[in-house]
Assembly symmetry: C2
């Protein structure tokens, strides 16, 4: 059986925001029955785990209104439409932490919540860091800290990291650096 869902028609005028759009597809299921699929359309995001020669990681703490809490995350941001995730990673790392690098290593591309949302998150590893100056976007309020990789790994294993991309980045960095 072909498991792909056939799109019969789409309502795409539901919400057209700055961060995401909402569409609803009327579809035909693999067994021929009708159903619909609610979709959040998002251009994608990027996160960068930046590790110093002393095995410390640059982390940002910011208030996230969707979570209604201060969250500890790797530097991250939203792609502009059509933007290359690598370029966005370079930009966000420098804007948020003030550090730049000459090269990012790809740690994978992940769907945040593939049941209804098109957002793909690309994750990169940055080393060879050099200070260049922090440039936060207007309306962006965050604080930067340096935390040992081994401490962050312990926090993931103790369920104290609450952001998906951040947990993946820390676990993969720990596997790479040992």
């Amino acid at each position: 059986m072909d498991c792909k869902e056939k799109i019969l028609s789409t309502r795409d005028d539901i919400f057209n925001g700055k961060i995401f759009k909402v569409k609803v597809h009327d579809i035909e299921l693999p067994d021929g029955k009708p159903a619909n699929r609610e979709i959040v359309e998002h251009h994608g995001g990027v996160g960068v785990i930046a590790v110093t020669p002393e095995r410390e990681v640059f982390m940002v703490t910011q208030y996230r209104i969707a979570a209604d809490e201060m969250m500890l995350e790797i530097p991250a941001g939203k792609l502009e439409k059509g933007e290359d995730p690598y370029d966005a990673g370079m930009r966000e790392l420098c804007e948020e932490t003030g550090y730049k690098t000459d090269k990012l290593e790809f740690l994978g591309e992940y769907y945040a919540t593939p049941g209804y949302c098109t957002e793909k998150l690309s994750i990169y590893l940055a080393t060879n860091l050099e200070y260049a100056g922090q440039h936060l976007d207007p309306g962006e309020f965050l604080s930067v800290s340096k935390i040992p990789l081994d401490k962050l790994y312990e926090m993931v294993m103790n369920n104290e990291i609450r952001d998906c991309k951040t947990a993946i980045a820390i676990l993969k960095a720990k596997a790479i650096f040992g």
Copy 2:
């Protein structure tokens, strides 16, 4: 500086779907300036990594229309409003794989994409598996396979796993089982 964003008013009639709702908050930033925040409201999800005594993991493959691809994921599902993630994990594991267990071990609660979405994903580890019969929801089409944990870990490290919760679950299970 208090970094919390103050909600001044909310438009909550934008979209009221079966899977998520959309709201827009008009807020005051920490520096007193106005802004707005687009929010996807979702009741949360659960994922279960089920590991056999032979270190094999039950995985599901299904078409995800938001990704427009077949995806390899741990068994997972959406919470009903107010549902306990533990109970939902027990239910989804059995419905999707046909296997039940007497106890789930908590591997953390993660925001899928905390910039704009309220969805929290709880992840659990299941062992002591016993066959009880698969019961898929109407409209749910997926195939179940058993894949060695070490093979899945290799796939995560090679960037071949494309779902956030699945990558976290595999990396944490590998850290636990060695």
